[in-house]
Amino acid sequence: MKRFLTIISLLLYTGFILTGQSSDPFVSKCVMNTGNEAKYLKDFRIQLGKAAEQNDLRYKANMSLWKNTKYRFTMCSAEDSKGQLILSIKDDANKVILSSYDKKTGKTYPFVDFVCNKSGIYKLNYDFTDGQQGSGVGVVSMVK
């Protein structure tokens, strides 16, 4: 009985270590899915209603990105979201550097690796496909 309780305690403890973080479990899960070699840097928590009209991506944030670094941008959408979380990054001259959504094919990439060669402050724009309602998290990590 004692051994059984010890095993249960160990299992609970391990589970706690892996998933029982005090912060948002949905964010934790997304962080844990960024890959073994990825090291967490930041996250952006996004919750949007349906867009009245489809123009620019609606959630905007700035972030400094540094030369000689490979960043991984991972997008996770909550199950009840109507659209998929997408990301577009623009530089300080408003030029689109990357987009996780291919308008021509309609393909959405769950993550984008960005090999940065120009240090600066970039504009990160998130939204859900077709301006749909949804909630999700965008995780930024560093990869080798």
């Binding site: 973080q21 090291k39 840097l41 700035n62 400094s64």
Partner: protein
């Protein structure tokens, strides 16, 4: 004949302007004024302030770069002289909370988590003293520190705790403490990078130090509204402006190019061909190493 000359001129202009656009260079410069007008800094919206605080280069990124360059870990770079029990003012507590946060990032990245327990106690004390201890899950961080396989969770919990503290301070009328914490994080990251480059000269690392010129202006925007709050704030502002002077003639040049895309393992890979190039002399780097060390070592003294 006149028509041919006109045509040739047009072709020449077109060729010249095409070539010019593909190799165009731009440069990052500080705004003209020597100091940021207080009114300009006070105009910053809460969103702009949040953006600035998010922009600050994470000490985790500096530590990651050091690992990439195979620089060995050294505890000598840590602010171990900080004694959380001897900090009297909220100014010192917030600033040192930032400095120790950067040290925690460095220890975590090098997985020297056994050594981080003392540091965590100091962070806990400082955070509780400025009434933000509730955002720092010390027990969880301690447990993750002892579990070497969960680096990503450890980074997540540690960084997230600091971001929650920052956000709470800003939205509860204590923006001056948030600014101090962010500046503490940045100064310690800058200290780490400059100390390492002094010992292990490396172009990539010295470039990263030079590129902090981009961030310094934002930090000044953040701190300027509080520069007249107290002699301590005035002194810190003076230090940051002195650092700005050291950056003034360091140039960051940008060359243009189009990103290259490919697919890998279900994801998209974008390689940027635009580049930033730092033009910084040995003497300018030396100047940055010296001023950073002087400011940081003075800040970590226990009064």
């Amino acid at each position: 004949m006149k028509g041919n000359i006109t045509l040739l001129t047009i072709l020449f202009i077109l060729c010249f302007s095409c070539r010019n656009s593909s190799t165009k260079e731009t440069e990052f410069v500080f705004p003209e004024a020597d100091s940021i007008p207080q009114s300009e800094a006070e105009k910053l919206s809460p969103e702009a302030i949040e953006d600035i605080s998010r922009n600050i280069s994470s000490p985790v990124e500096i530590a990651n770069l050091l690992q990439m360059l195979e620089v060995p870990f050294s505890s000598q770079y840590l602010a171990s002289s900080i004694d959380a029990n001897k900090e009297n003012t909220t100014f010192d507590k917030a600033l040192k909370l930032g400095i120790l946060g950067a040290d925690l990032g460095y220890l975590n990245m090098y997985e020297k988590t056994g050594s981080s327990l003392d540091l965590l106690s100091s962070i806990r004390k400082l955070a509780e003293d400025i009434r933000v201890g509730q955002f720092f899950d010390f027990e969880m961080i301690k447990r993750l520190s002892q579990n070497r396989s969960s680096l990503d969770s450890l980074l997540y919990i540690s960084i997230d705790s600091y971001e929650q503290i920052d956000s709470y301070l800003r939205t509860n009328g204590r923006g001056q403490l948030s600014a101090l914490m962010i500046i503490g994080v940045w100064i310690e990251g800058q200290y780490l990078a400059t100390q390492v480059v002094d010992k292990y000269p490396d172009k990539i690392l010295s470039d990263r130090i030079g590129e902090q010129k981009i961030i310094l202006n934002d930090l000044l925007l953040l701190i300027t509204p509080f520069c007249n709050n107290s002699p301590e704030f005035s002194s810190l502002c003076k230090d940051l402006y002195a650092m700005k002077d050291n950056y003034r003639d360091i140039r960051i040049i940008y060359t243009q190019g189009e990103p290259v895309a490919s697919e890998k393992e279900g994801g998209l890979v974008i390689t940027q061909t635009e580049t930033s190039i730092v033009e910084m002399s040995e003497a300018q780097l030396k100047g940055l190493i010296e001023i950073t060390s002087e400011i940081r070592n003075r800040l970590i003294l226990n009064d």
